[in-house]
């Protein structure tokens, strides 16, 4: 299955074009900055930093985070396609994917809690979710960087 993906035209283009791979990596880091940047600000706010900012702000910012996520899902899939069979055997890659799934599920939970709760009243349950969310995104970044090393 992964070999089949590697033999597609898309994968061949990513692997062979001089600029595709570095170009996609560059796009990927912009997406990372948007998604993890906004989610980490949200989590830090929920954990008690800058209480002056209305928690409902992060409901609006989620639309921008979603754009970043789509950018990275597409660029990430394209990068993955060129070396799929190698990536699926990379432990840091698998940890990164797991951390992203956890981070997105927690983002959904936080979104629901912010939407249904009283503005600026952060329950201890929401704080706990925010702490795990922050941890999962930091893990995703660390594991992603380690793909090149392990």
């Amino acid at each position: 299955m992964f070999e089949a993906l590697e033999s597609t035209t898309l994968a061949a283009w990513v692997g062979e074009s001089l600029w595709a791979y570095p170009g996609l990596l560059s796009v990927h880091i912009i997406g990372l900055a948007i998604v993890v940047g906004l989610f980490s600000m949200r989590d830090l706010r929920l954990l008690g930093l800058f209480p002056e900012i209305d928690t409902k702000l992060f409901l609006s910012l989620n639309k921008i985070a979603a754009i970043g996520f789509v950018i990275n899902a597409v660029s990430g899939f394209m990068l993955f396609s060129s070396q799929a069979s190698i990536f699926v055997q990379s432990t840091p890659f698998l940890i990164k994917m797991g951390a992203i799934v956890v981070g997105m599920v927690l983002a959904g939970i936080i979104h629901f809690r912010l939407g249904s709760g009283i503005a600026n009243h952060v329950t201890s349950g929401t704080k706990l979710v925010a702490a795990f969310s922050l941890l999962s995104w930091l893990s995703a970044i660390a594991a992603g960087r380690l793909i090149a090393y392990l």
Partner: protein
Amino acid sequence: MLDALAQAFLGSPLNEWIQATYWLWPVMEITHFIGLTLLMGGLLIVDLRLLGLFPSVKLTATHKVLPLVLLGFTLNLITGILFFIGDPMRYSVNVGFQIKMLLVLVAGANAFLFHSRYWLDSQSSLSMALNRVDERIVAGLSLCLWTCVLLLGRLIPYVSTG
């Protein structure tokens, strides 16, 4: 100038220690990524607000994230200097690195000039409020410049000498 700096660092104790410590480079890279995340995450909130999004949030409230932006910048300044000392000949001649540094200076000047004017304004009883057009230009420029800094940084391994 970069050449002279690179020559000065080459073979220095710090240069040799960074080269010899195998786990240090990936740890510095992870820190550099976390730093850029704090920097961009905070700036998105500040600059998008200045550009006119979510007008119900107070401008002064969004400015509370600026310490985190500065923290991210400081983390990246420190790890960045260590990258340069660790592998000076690679960075000094790299055109991606050179343009990136130039843009960091421009982006830094843009932020510094804006915030010093903003601060002066908040301290003064005379109203010399920045007009909205000014604010939008500064904020738009800030997001564009930092985006280019990220792009260029990621391209450093793929571009050659300049």
